[in-house]
């Protein structure tokens, strides 16, 4: 027995020694030259397949953010549209049926082949020819002919006027990418082609990848000067970039605390824990509210306006006024977000062009409570109330009202449960003896809110906060978290949900076409039929007219575009098919142990996320700390 124990101890000791000797977490790569970032979309399901034109392909594993270049890229942090493979703006004819795009000269694919107009023409013709490509119908329905008028000039004849056709190539978080013609033209079945190794025009090339989908390594191209990123911003500093995913929040946090993960997206709770534990870890903002608060997405609540009682705008407004937004924001994200009173986020160009100029109108906006009584719901001082909440929580916040508005938003709506009650009573609702709300037919009002199961997603956070507020108001509200939310929303099988209250704008420029087109009645389907338009199923002749006029307007005509956009926002506000609450709060943390000069709020030179296309624009500005 003793011999057995000794042998066991010896073997165990040898194995442990061997582990120490051979086990390196990063094999062969110099850590001081390597940047490690998280993959937002999780473990890559198709590790060996880089054909991003077919199905879902985890583009943030390094394809869109390191190795690929679009024609144009949106940088929401700077509010700029960056020319990448395009050399300048698209030029439309007067009736928007033809567009000419100049291309950048001197760009090479990662295998050294020059990028030319032939690649663009080939891409569009291939997408039109094969119905299995994601963008097939998008081009097949719009493009009459695509041709080159020079090696660096592409021409599109369109089947119908479209002043925003070029945005198909504008990388916001994905777009139509250009195929390397010299590779794809040799492939017979382009849909099943794996495009491995990946060849792009970006500053990094594929080094290796995990067959199990947990990591992908990219290596800086020696000819980085021949890439749009290199030409625009200079040489990226990290020689290698690893995109890695962790299945569990706990292991992500441990990885960052042990300097094995330089930049990552976390949940709100993980974010606070990591900042508290890591001496070298920082967030986007140096102080409270820490989070990335200039993301171009607006979160909130969506009503199914095709069913009762949510087809009534006064009921929707009543539900809004039953929300104490300070408490709501505290429950959802501990006060760490920026509110917006309209269906676009309060970031970039939007406050200046839309939200600020709408202030007077917002203050004058009133609701008819019946019997000649009106109510002005807008609250321009909500930021002060949130600051009070933050102070009570022990956070330091400034007393400067202007700074507070930048932090927490220019305005939102008053908490007015008494007014909400009047609006409901005006529409036949009543309360039972316990104070619970009854529908106009006298049955209990049982409100079900559909939300995602991912507790770190803002759908979950908004949904839970809204349900809490409405319960407090006396509605029998509950949330249903399900992974089937996409199908249920599409089919209209829900009452209220916490998906995007409106499609996100592009993040740069003033054009709201992308936001509004989702409300086009042309796309709306009856309940039970899969709907690809906005989940609210709300549309109106006035909105159709606005969309039609906006589509016929040159998006570079700022004055005209803003005027029509403002009209649309006012209409959405009056109808309130969805409640915009706060701009997407990004819980990202950066470790400054190996790399510094991250684009924080004090110096937002590029988008702060590693999963956006603008990640490659950040890399030339990072600095090594010298730690090894």
């Amino acid at each position: 027995m003793k011999k057995l124990v000794r042998a066991f101890a010896l073997v165990t000791g040898l194995v442990l020694f061997a582990f120490m000797a051979f086990g390196q977490s990063i094999d062969q790569l110099p850590r001081e030259d390597t940047l490690i970032a998280g993959i937002l979309t999780g473990r890559v399901g198709t590790p060996g397949n880089f054909n991003a034109w077919v199905g879902w392909k985890w583009n943030d594993r390094g394809m869109q953010n390191l190795a690929n270049e679009p024609l144009w890229s949106v940088d929401f942090a700077t509010g700029e549209i960056v020319n990448c493979l395009a050399a300048g703006d698209p030029v439309y004819n007067d009736d928007f049926t033809h567009v000419s795009i100049p291309l950048r000269k001197g760009v090479k694919w990662a295998d050294g082949t020059p990028f030319t107009a032939d690649d663009v023409v080939f891409t569009v013709e291939t997408l039109i020819a094969e119905p299995g490509f994601n963008d097939h119908s998008s081009f097949a329905t719009e493009v009459e002919r695509v041709y080159k008028s020079g090696d660096y000039q592409v021409e599109f004849d369109l089947k119908q006027p479209n002043s925003r056709f070029h945005t198909k190539f504008l990388d916001r978080w994905g777009c139509t990418w250009i195929m390397p013609k010299h590779i794809f033209e040799k492939v017979e079945d382009k849909l099943t082609f794996e495009f491995n190794p990946f060849i792009g025009c970006g500053p990094y090339k594929l080094h290796s990848y995990d067959p199990n989908g947990y990591w992908t390594i990219w290596e800086k191209r020696e000819d980085w000067q021949n890439t749009p990123t290199g030409m625009n911003f200079g040489e990226p500093v990290p020689k290698y970039v690893i995109l890695q995913t962790y299945s569990d929040e706990g292991s992500k946090i441990v990885a960052q605390l042990t300097h094995q993960l330089d930049v990552v997206d976390l949940s709100a709770e993980g974010f606070v824990a990591t900042l508290a534990q890591g001496r070298t870890i920082r967030a986007y903002q140096p102080g409270f509210p820490w989070v990335v608060n200039n993301d171009p997405c607006i979160t909130g609540i969506v009503f199914n306006t095709a069913i009762e009682p949510y087809n009534n705008p006064e009921v929707r407004w009543a539900l809004l006024l039953a929300i104490d937004i300070v408490e709501y924001l505290g429950q959802a994200v501990d006060g760490q977000a920026t509110l917006s009173p309209v269906h676009i986020p309060a970031l970039g160009a939007y406050p200046e062009y839309y939200i600020e100029p709408m202030q007077e109108w917002l203050k004058e906006f009133k609701l008819d409570l019946g019997n000649g009584e009106v109510f002005y719901p807008y609250d321009p001082d909500v930021a002060l109330r949130i600051a009070e909440y933050a102070k009570n929580r022990g956070y330091y916040v400034t007393d400067d009202p202007e700074e507070l508005k930048k932090m927490f938003g220019i305005g939102w709506y008053k908490y007015a449960p008494d007014v909400a009650a009047k609006l409901l009573e005006k529409n036949g609702f009543s309360r039972d003896k316990n104070g619970k709300w009854l529908l106009p037919d006298g049955t209990p009002w049982k409100l079900e809110l559909l939300e995602k199961t991912d507790t770190s997603h803002h759908s979950f956070k908004n949904g839970n906060a809204a349900v809490q507020q409405w319960k407090k108001f006396g509605i029998d509200a509950e949330y249903i978290a399900t992974d089937a939310h996409a199908t249920l929303q599409g089919n209209g099988e829900f009452q209220v949900t916490s998906s995007w209250p409106a499609a996100e704008p592009w993040g740069a420029g003033v054009d709201l076409y992308r936001v509004l087109d989702q409300f086009n009645s042309e796309y709306m389907k009856p309940l039970g039929v899969l709907n690809q338009a906005h989940n609210s199923r709300w549309s109106s002749p006035e909105m159709d007219d606005i969309i039609r006029r906006l589509k016929a307007t040159d998006p570079t005509d700022v004055e005209a575009t803003v005027a029509i956009g403002t009209e649309a926002l006012k209409l959405l506000l009056k109808e309130m098919p969805s409640i915009p609450t706060y701009g997407y709060a990004g819980f990202i943390t950066w470790d400054e142990y190996y790399w510094t000069n991250w684009p924080g709020s004090e110096n937002p030179y590029a988008g702060p996320y590693a999963h956006w296309g603008t990640f490659k624009h950040m890399l030339p500005f990072l600095q090594k700390t010298g730690n090894k």
């Binding site: 990063i26 094999d27 199905g55 879902w56 916001r172 994905g174 947990y214 962790y246 299945s247 996100e504």
Partner: protein
């Protein structure tokens, strides 16, 4: 006689269970409110790519055709069996156009490697120690061990695994945080790669073995205590047979019989993966694959993994049935 009266009916039952199991697995996901086409499009759209709603409708039609979801459920069912007989589970919808069999082939070795080893190890450790502790249940060490196991056994697996991760990967930094092998290291038959894989498997394996062995320990101890009280053990003791022989040959051997059946079932279940282990340690395997397939309505992938699991469990149960006389001479198939 054995063939006619037992083997043939048992084999028929075996194939019927597989057929019914796979048929149920074919239909259940289709009743779920998750549309795989819509789920894929939702993923693409939710990440910022702008798709015109009219274009999306066309895309739905294209993907439905590509995924082979056209036609009635009956037509799809017949097509499914036709392909299955050729060993083809079809393509994964969400990981289009990767064949399901490729995904399973990538994940299977990790799952089998980890779970087969840990299941057998925990069974052996738990049963041997549990058996001895059950036989010597009056000793102090037995009572202490019982107390320790009673403390470990109810710990939620997630908490226990995360605790191990924090202790041995963060506080002491002895083991890697995640993955099946180091970043940048590709599979190869080299000593360094094998050691690297073992090092990465250590924490997940430890978490499974400790809790698994604790579970087997308690069951084994209880059974041994019951067997120990039986008459034949008393007779053996009175007959002067050596205690060591009584313990191993008379008591523990008899106590092992139900545990062998349970081992077979546990081994069959390893093909479903160990989801929480894979999540905590970001370990590659079938559990994560199955979980994401259910979330995304990836019917083909769900069917591929569960069909394998059904076949594995029923086959192991069949084998145990047929091999049982070897373990228990009292049982004979006549």
């Amino acid at each position: 006689m054995f063939v006619k009266r037992y083997l043939i009916p048992r084999l028929l039952q075996y194939f019927l269970v597989i057929f019914l199991g796979i048929t149920i697995v074919f239909f259940i996901p289709r009743f779920a409110p998750t549309n795989p086409v819509q789920r894929t499009i939702s993923e693409i759209r939710s990440r910022g790519t702008y798709l015109n709603p009219a274009d999306v409708e066309q895309m739905v039609a294209d993907l439905t055709r590509l995924y082979g979801l056209e036609g009635s459920w009956g037509e799809q069912y017949i097509e499914f069996w036709r392909k299955l007989f050729k060993g083809d589970f079809g393509i994964s919808f969400f990981q289009f156009p990767t064949p399901v069999i490729e995904l399973i082939k990538t994940a299977l070795p990790w799952t089998v490697g980890l779970l087969f080893t840990t299941t057998v190890l925990s069974w052996v450790i738990g049963n041997i120690i549990g058996g001895i502790a059950g036989y010597r249940n009056n000793r102090l060490w037995s009572r202490i061990l019982d107390g320790v196991v009673m403390f470990i056994r109810p710990l939620p697996y997630y908490i226990f695994a995360l605790g191990l991760l924090i202790l041995l990967a963060y506080v002491f930094r002895l083991f890697p945080i995640s993955g099946g092998a180091s970043i940048g290291r590709l599979p190869s038959f080299t000593l360094s790669y094998i050691l690297d894989v073992l090092k990465h498997a250590f924490l997940p394996a430890l978490s499974l073995v400790v809790l698994g062995a604790a579970s087997w320990f308690q069951a084994s101890k209880l059974i041994v205590q019951n067997v120990n009280a039986e008459d034949f053990v008393q007779y053996a003791q009175l007959g002067g047979i050596k205690e060591r022989k009584i313990m191993f040959k008379y008591v523990i051997r008899n106590a092992m019989l139900p545990q062998i059946t349970n081992l077979a079932l546990s081994l069959g279940q390893i093909l479903s993966g160990a989801l929480i282990t894979e999540i905590v340690f970001s370990y590659p395997g079938l559990g994560n694959l199955l979980f994401s397939a259910i979330n995304t309505g990836d019917y083909n992938l769900i069917m591929g993994i569960t069909a394998l699991s059904i076949v594995a469990i029923t086959t192991l149960v069949l084998m145990i049935d047929l091999l049982y006389p070897l373990f228990d001479p009292r049982i004979k198939y006549k």
